[in-house]
């Protein structure tokens, strides 16, 4: 075998992989076996093996065997030394790795190795089978003997995700061993704009519990909701203290909406420890921050709190202002997509507040720094959440902002020189999540670093070398106002000559779209963090005596959820360019990739159009 038709061009493939975990008895262990076929020179690197393990947790790796089977069928047993190295060793922490390399590996060789991972005594670990590997896997077999105890009942539940086509889900046999066999598992491939890796890898997750496992998801979440609601309400229920606090923030004559805005602004202004530079334990002790706040009164009195403290403080204050509000526990979609049927309590891991004002329900994430009023940070938008109440709660979906709520707006007033240099003023306004993201990223930096950050950000939009100098002092601390950056801009050689004409490309800020979705093939769905828009408005004053010979036609491609418009106009000696790009998408199945790719090709062809100018003194000719 020199190649695998299902993995064309692969450097190596896993012919067979076996993982057998035995959690029974006092000491659990796992036997791992790998058989890899080397198909190219590059693939020989798979002969270097590193097996990490947590020694401080009482785990160890032993019983290591390996061999190389040459292309002629002869075998070389591994008899070299297995090295053990400390990856990290600190008080109470010891992460180690066993390392070895198999000899005599050439193209066409098969390498095999096996080892036993001994898990520490008297500790029961949840386990996970990640089926998607860096390499294509021809066949793999997994088994788990779940822990049992005659004295204390233990329950084991498993869930699976994205199993390869044709695979039977893992099943428990009459011997109470859970088994799974899979074939032709594709190699995991990374792509731009793909959903979180965890969502794309085939896997099986096992969870142990001493409590009888609830089989009905609705009952499971009801129970969970009750518990969470109890915890939140006991943290928030400080009505007198909140009433006194809210009196300092709002006036009785304020409308409910005005009250809400004032409370939100006040909470956003409080010190948010979740976004500060991480402190050492010694600093935390010194600053007396080690003790967690036990309720919203504590948070208010201290004047600071972490993300969760501030979210619940907002809830307490809003309620004290007489406005209806509920806690909602949502799932952060930056790492996983939530599925209630899986009954994993830890996947509901973020807190927001749902407020009813003037008959309208609005989600707030006051604990997320720099989040504009009425918005959530992107991982919490468009996700399922549990709106808590004493009965366990109801399922809700957080809102997804409109694309026009997160905009990069670029306004440039420029002058073209005789030598082809564009020069003038540029103002970029970042609204909604666009402003929030940038404020978040630079929150712990100084003015010099922020200036550099914004200048580089602006330069990256321009497809050629440019000089950009920030001239204003943007407001980095606000969550309510857009982030506005003003620059002087100089682009030498933007206009090029061709015979008696000069040509002006219209895509002044087109660099980010130049190379997106160029690949012909797509494996994974296309995933955007949040909907957004880009609006460009550029005025270019021509040198005296210069004239416009021709303007490119307006270009537009409206696919409803994605939209591109480009227009050029000429008024006396000024050219006016407007460009709008709207991406109102969150996720697109890979089958729509060709359409998306062709949309961006239209964007590129529009941006690459040229305005033809006739410089002073040059006469038009055929």
């Amino acid at each position: 075998m020199t190649s695998e038709p299902l993995a064309p061009g692969a450097a190596a493939i896993v012919l067979y992989r076996q993982v057998d975990r035995d959690d029974r008895g006092q000491t659990a262990h796992e036997n791992d076996f790998m058989r890899i076929k080397i198909l190219t020179e590059e693939g020989r690197k798979y002969a270097d093996v590193e097996i990490p393990f947590n020694k401080s947790g009482g785990n160890n790796v032993g019983n290591i065997h390996g061999r190389t089977i040459r292309p002629d069928g002869t075998a070389v047993e591994y008899q070299g030394k297995v090295f053990e190295k400390a990856i990290v060793k600190a008080k109470g922490v010891k992460y180690m790795a066993k390392t070895f390399t198999l000899p005599d590996v050439e193209i066409g060789s098969i390498i095999e190795y096996s080892y036993t991972l001994d898990l520490s005594e008297n500790i029961l670990y949840d386990s996970q089978w990640i089926l998607s590997d860096e390499l294509f896997t021809k066949s793999a077999s997994f088994s788990l003997k779940p822990y049992t105890n005659d004295m204390v009942p233990f329950y084991c539940r498993w869930s699976w995700h994205d199993l390869p086509a044709g695979s039977e889900p893992p099943k428990e046999g009459p011997d109470h061993v859970v088994r799974l066999e899979v074939h032709n598992v594709p190699a995991f491939q990374s792509e731009d704009y793909m959903p979180p890796e965890n969502e794309l890898k085939a896997r099986v997750d096992f969870t142990y519990s001493q409590e009888q496992l609830e089989k009905d998801p609705s009952q499971f979440w009801k129970n969970r909701g009750k518990k969470l609601n109890g915890a939140v309400e006991s943290f928030v229920n400080k009505r007198n203290a909140m009433q006194a606090a809210v009196e300092q923030i709002v006036s009785p004559s304020d409308s409910p909406e005005a009250k809400l805005q004032k409370i939100y602004a006040r909470v956003q202004q409080l010190r948010n420890t979740s976004y500060e530079v991480e402190k050492t334990e010694q600093q935390q002790k010194r600053d007396k921050e080690e003790k967690e706040a036990s309720n919203v009164e504590d948070v208010w009195k201290r004047g600071y709190g972490d993300e969760r403290d501030l979210t619940w403080l907002f809830l307490g204050l809003v309620r004290a202002a007489g406005i209806e509000a509920d806690p909602v526990i949502v799932s952060d979609r930056s790492n996983f997509f939530f599925n209630p049927a899986i009954m994993d309590a830890y996947k509901l891991d973020a807190d927001v507040v749902l407020v009813k004002v003037n008959g309208k329900e609005i989600y707030f994430g006051p604990g997320a720094a720099f989040t504009p009023f009425g918005m959530l940070e992107w991982p919490e938008t468009g996700v399922q959440g549990l709106r808590l109440d004493k009965n366990g709660g109801t399922w809700v979906h957080t809102t997804l902002p409109e694309s026009n709520e997160s905009v990069v707006e670029r306004k440039a007033v420029l002058t073209l020189s005789d030598t082809g240099t564009l020069e003038g003023k540029l103002t970029i306004t970042y609204t909604g999540l666009e402003g929030m993201q940038r404020r978040m990223e630079e929150r712990n930096e100084d003015d010099a670093a922020r200036k550099k950050f914004l200048e580089e950000d602006a330069k990256e939009d321009i497809p050629v070398g440019s000089e950009v100098d920030l001239t204003n002092k943007p407001d980095w601390s606000s969550s309510s106002s857009p982030l506005i950056a003003e620059y002087t801009l100089k682009i030498p050689g933007w206009v090029s000559g061709a015979g008696r004409h000069a040509m002006v490309p219209v895509g002044l800020f087109s660099a980010p779209e130049k190379h997106v979705f160029e690949h012909a093939q797509r494996v994974h769905p296309i995933y955007f963090e949040y909907p957004f828009e880009k609006w460009d408005d550029v005025a270019i004053t021509l040198p005296a005596g210069w004239q416009v010979s021709s303007l490119p036609p307006a270009k537009s491609k409206d696919e409803k959820l994605i939209d591109y418009e480009l227009k050029t106009e000429n008024d006396k000696n000024t050219i006016h360019l407007t460009r709008k790009l709207k991406v109102d998408l969150l996720m697109l199945e890979s089958k729509y990739y060709p359409a998306l790719r062709s949309f961006y090709e239209v964007v590129r062809s529009g941006d690459d159009q040229q305005i033809l100018l006739q410089p002073a003194g040059a006469t038009a000719s055929n």
């Binding site: 020179e41 990290v88 600190a90 008080k91 922490v93 390399t101 590996v105 050492t280 600093q283 690949h519």
Partner: protein, 529 residues
Amino acid sequence: MISKSCCSQPVLPPAIKRKKVAIFLCAIAFALAFAPHSAANDSAPQWMHAVANAPLPAHDEKTNAVLLYSETDVNVVSADRVNVLVREAYKILRPEGRDYGIVFVPFNSNKKVTNLHGWCIPAQGRDYDVNEKDGAEISLPKIEGSDLINDVKAKVIRIPAPDPGNVIGYEYEMQEHPLALQQLWEFQEEAPVREAHYSLQLPPGWEFKSSWLNYPEMKPTQSGANQWQWVVSDVKGVRKEEDMPPLSGLEGQMIVSFYPQGGTVASSFGTWQQMGLWYTNLTQGRRDASDEIKQKVAALTAQSPAQLDKMKAIAMFIQNDIRYVAIELGIGGYQPHLAEEVFTHRYGDCKDKATLMSAMLSAIGVDSYYVVINSERGSVTANTPPHQAFDHVILAIKLPDKLQDSSLMATEVLPKLGNILFFDPTNEITPFGQIGGYLQDNFGLLVAPDGGELVELPRQPATTNGIVRTARFTLDPTGRLEGSVEETRLGDRAWAERETFRSITNNADRIKPARWFLVQFPHHQSSVD
């Protein structure tokens, strides 16, 4: 691009400089988060307080931190033991300077680090204090193409509150079993230096020789019996820029070699020749060709009557069939494995590959010599004094007198050895007869039986390292340009491209690099097939 072409343990720096630490920060922060804080007296030492309010050295607004004080005290106890005390105090000026609060001190089996201690003197409030019990010990992470295993580790501490306006400092002691009687003092770095001190205590009757690199020589003052001290002050910071020579070729350094009473010992490097002798002794017998090696050479060269073709067949075998795997423990950072072992396992690092190739060449009657070199050109120059500044090993092959061939470009006629071809067997893509750009015009120590000499490697003509594009286009009346382009890449340009393609498995992606040349016309839309 250099891949799998540099290896061997570099000389350990006293403490890893800031920019190199970024990739470890996440892992370390995780480990340190678990480390409970030990009891401390919360008081920085007097040497730190003495400089905390000292005037700052000249700096600009982009400076992240300045080094207020640095002290390196070297005490040579014997030829087998050297004790070093290091103290450094930085003032943090900008948020980006917070990285200075994470201190990495590398060590290995020949160099032990003890008493690592760190402090912070905040602009307001009491001092902070940490020691190595609060820290962690780490191995360098495995990076593809790097060492499989080596014994270089680092002790790491995280100093609290390394915020702008605060002063952080640390000290540690090292006990070294030196491989060479030589110390390197790197007193210039990215941060401007206010004051740096270096002291040397030698046993009675010992002598030293100091050499300065990239900085005017400073004369020492004698501060005790056989004790000397050097001081530099207001040293400019060296800020990284694109396409600049390596920092080791720019930063001010002092190299001190010391000699026991009665003359030199094998590990004293007063001259390049002495260093060459040291390496000759270290590699003694390593290049002996076993019967199996000779049989393989016979098989490889059976169809090649010409000597040049035989050499090429051997080179190809080493490049393609001996996998790059570095196992460098203890002296293994410098000493190659036996040729026989490398041949049996079919893997090795740069010095192992050079060793086996040398053994195989000897089997066809061709002599060759190790060339110990730094893979970053500019680290070692003609003026560099002898010291362990190298991280790579290649071969100098003595060409038969009558052998002349235009494919042999990396040649040099050396007065003692005659016509020499330089070749890097670790570089799996550069053809026999050529060397990569990182070696051209570079200086390496050629290790010959009588010692060694620093030699300059040849520079190949620019025409051997280029991109030739031939295009045939037709322009139609609408302005559309259509045609064909043929691109030929030579030398390092070809090497870089091939190296990229090696790890690309998708044919569609192989096309992508070709697109890049067309995007050099930024104002034009292009399609490539």
